[in-house]
């Protein structure tokens, strides 16, 4: 059993095809884009919700 384990090659990657690599790149770019849009939206919501009230406080 342990001998058999030793003989098996240790996989280092899933061996993606060029097509699979291209799709993975597209997915990664979509996630990056989504994250960027999310950051902009949260920033915009924060600014719009605070509005002019940011100056209405005692320092």
């Amino acid at each position: 059993m342990s001998d058999e384990k030793q003989r098996l090659p240790t996989p280092t990657s899933y061996g993606l095809t060029p097509e699979e690599m291209a799709m993975r790149k597209k997915r990664n770019l979509a996630i990056a884009l989504g994250l960027g849009v999310f950051i902009i939206i949260i920033f915009a919501v924060t600014i719009l919700r605070i509005g002019g009230a940011v100056a209405d406080r005692s320092f």
């Binding site: 090659p9 061996g15 993606l16 699979e20």
Partner: protein, 305 residues
């Protein structure tokens, strides 16, 4: 595990799925109707919301609707795989694993509710959360496979977006918003049962108890007609609660009259003739769009003219 095994595992996961396949999980066509009806709810509501915040709120509602679509596809992957209409969806097509659809839908659900709470108010966010819960748990998990009233009760989820939109602007959900809810709620049975009449084989194959394969065609045709009559009357309600003018009343009466006429043809059609059901299904989509578009036009005219 050999390299070949790893390779096989990789092939069975989402290595070939593109962003478009994940977008397809959001049921874009359903999402577009949700966005439109929610937008009408927002425009019809009294109150002021910054245009950018309104746009972000609408985006949150769209994402919430899409998330519930992804969760529905996760739960129904087994029956999607046997129905011709749903066979090419990303999960049965082998492009997206079920677990990823569940994670994607769950993540987007939480995100959409949080975003709506930030952009508008907690009432709208709570209503959106309830809509997602109702569609996924009450409709998909419970009713869909257990009763022919599945789409009647489940229709509440599809009917809520204008109430969510209204609440996002007005921070309230008054009678007028529930009038819009009622129109979509009553529209759902004739719309889906018209589809079920000519896609009956699909639903039978998947074991879904739709009305035609539980109560038979004739009973379904009668109910389609009855619901169409009630829908046509409910379509007039916005006028009687003072939301719109006589222009809307005339438009809604004409549209409702045509809906009733088509459902009458469905009722009178012979058992093998599904032409009228197909016509009614197509027109029902136009009916809902036109009624809400008429409300939208009325409100925009009232605001800007």
């Amino acid at each position: 595990m050999t390299n070949a095994d790893h390779s096989a595992l990789a092939k069975s996961s989402s290595q070939l799925a593109g962003p478009g396949d994940y977008f397809a999980l959001l049921k874009p066509r359903v999402m577009s109707l949700v966005v439109f009806t929610a937008f009408v709810g927002m425009v019809a509501a009294p109150g002021v919301l910054h245009p950018a915040l309104a746009l972000i709120s609408l985006l949150a509602i769209a994402v919430g609707a899409g998330a519930s679509g992804a969760l529905n596809m996760w739960w129904d992957a087994d029956i999607d795989a046997v129905m011709s209409r749903t066979l090419k969806r990303p999960i049965p097509a082998g492009l997206v694993p079920r677990s990823e659809a569940a994670a994607f839908g769950g993540f987007l659900s939480a995100l959409s509710v949080a975003l709506l709470a930030l952009a508008s108010n907690y009432l709208a966010a709570g209503l959106l959360a309830f809509t997602i819960f109702f569609y996924v748990v009450i409709y998909s998990m419970w009713l869909k496979r257990s009763t022919p009233q599945n789409i009647v009760i489940g229709g509440a989820a599809g009917a809520l977006p204008p109430v969510v939109g209204w609440a996002a602007v007005a921070n309230a959900a008054p009678l007028e918003s529930w009038v819009l809810f009622t129109i979509i709620f009553l529209w759902t049975p004739p719309h889906f049962w018209a589809l079920a009449l000519f896609k009956r084989g699909d639903y039978e194959l998947a074991g879904i108890p739709m009305m035609p394969n539980v109560k038979g065609d004739l009973s379904t045709r009668r109910q389609v007609f009855a619901y169409s009559v009630v829908l046509a009357l409910a379509g007039l309600a916005p006028y009687f609660v003072g939301m719109v003018s006589a222009f809307y009343l005339i438009a809604a009466a004409l549209l409702g009259g045509w809906m009733v006429w088509l459902s009458w043809l469905v009722l009178k059609a012979s058992a093998e003739d599904f032409g009228p059901a197909k016509k009614l299904f197509g027109f029902s989509i136009f009916y809902l769009f036109a009624v809400f578009a008429a409300i939208l036009v009325e409100r925009l005219v009232a605001i800007y003219v």
